[in-house]
Symmetry: C2
Subunit: 250 residues, 2 copies
């Protein structure tokens, strides 16, 4: 009861996060791709309205995002495409080359290794690793598959910055632990598990199953709505089995 008042925080001591908002960072690659495409078509200058349309966002949001990088536009004109490409690339750290290791060369790892051109400039696939002796030694996408036992040595020798986990779910956490142990601080996870990592390490997840489930949710809602409308016209019949019944059941 008489717990001490938690102090209204007169001075939040907020050091003013000087960085770029996460939501903005997540959109920069989209802008970059749209800009690259424009550049290939010979476009030299683009307005926020046009670029926003190409990127599928609102123009105000685009301008605010870009304003976090600096004032790289010209009022009354727009943005110079090449210059903006450079600035975003620099901000994302694409002016240096990041060396990537793919662990797990099954169906998915195979596809990733061969995707070469799709991984745009800035990334080099430097090593492939797998636990299956039947695959080790093969050449995939121009690289030899090495045994996962050599993981630590490979990370060291090849100066790996980013690890891609494309193993079965059962092996993912162990592989991740070893990557982190070897000094990797960025991991891209394709395995359907939640990887646990120490604090400074960053993990991002790509997951087909999750995406499909989110689509299913919205698809279901759309169907339920349509059904409800259809049903509401003719007979009574409380046939609304979907979410409608759920509400009641609760």
């Amino acid at each position: 009861m008489s717990t001490q008042r938690p102090a209204p925080l007169v001075r939040p001591a907020r050091p003013l996060r000087q960085g770029i908002p996460d939501a903005t960072v997540a959109r920069l690659p989209v802008y970059l791709r749209a800009l690259t495409s424009l550049a290939e078509h010979g476009v030299e200058t683009v307005s926020s309205e046009e670029l926003a349309a190409a990127a599928g966002v609102g123009s105000a949001k685009l301008r605010k995002d870009l304003s976090h990088l600096g004032s790289y536009g010209t009022r009354g004109v727009g943005y110079e495409v090449d210059y903006l490409v450079y600035q975003i690339s620099r901000e994302l750290g694409l002016t240096q080359d990041w060396r990537v290791a793919i662990v797990g060369v099954g169906n998915l790892g195979h596809a990733l290794a061969n995707y070469g051109g799709f991984v745009s400039r800035g990334f080099t696939i430097a090593a492939l690793l797998d636990a299956d002796p039947a695959i080790v030694g093969e050449t995939v996408g121009g690289l030899p598959v090495r045994p996962v036992a050599e993981l630590e040595a490979v990370v060291e020798a090849e100066d790996i910055h980013i690890g891609v986990v494309a193993t079965p779910a059962s092996a993912a956490q162990e592989v991740c632990d070893r990557l982190v142990g070897a000094g990797v601080t960025s991991v891209l996870n394709f395995a359907p598990v939640v990887l646990v990592v120490p604090d400074p390490v960053m993990v991002r997840k790509v997951d087909l199953s999750t995406e499909l489930q989110i689509l299913a949710f919205h698809e279901q809602r759309r169907m339920a709505t349509r059904l409800a409308l259809d049903v509401s016209s003719p007979a009574v019949e409380s046939a609304v089995s979907g979410s409608g019944a759920a509400e009641v059941a609760r």
Copy 2:
């Protein structure tokens, strides 16, 4: 200053968005997976603390998320695993089967088609389509690859709900347009382009390149910070920019 008070909105006429917040929907698949895993290990009951840890989120967030579905927990005890699995599955629409068509059976489409088991219950890959005559006719993952010319007929005949675009970027928009034209309202896009679709259609994107770039951004910032600290050790130099140092110091 004499600007009229913008009216405190006594009655915001807020229709009370009856749905589940998007952020919550995006996490439900994660909870579902964690729960399934627990169930397989024979766990019957789980507290919000434990489940949150398994899903990699805070326990308060988890409880708030679950509270949007209803009151399915028991105070003092926790959640019954099986029951919660069922409730989340139902909410996500996984109690019915969604029929998926994959367009583009290159490296990636190949991998997706063979992923069979990984696409958990609720989804059936019902058709494969490709434009390359060299691939059409082959059997991949137990399904024949059909010519993309038959797309509309296949969507109709196989009752496709969800389209997966795994084509090269150049073909993606056209394929997407045709899927939508054939009545598909949910699209999962693996091609590195922003797909433009009419309003009721939902598109989600899975993009390795974007994810790598986001990782690179954070990796770069980490390196820059570390470098700044290295430099700052000899001289006094108040280079330590507040929050940056805090991150590291932690």
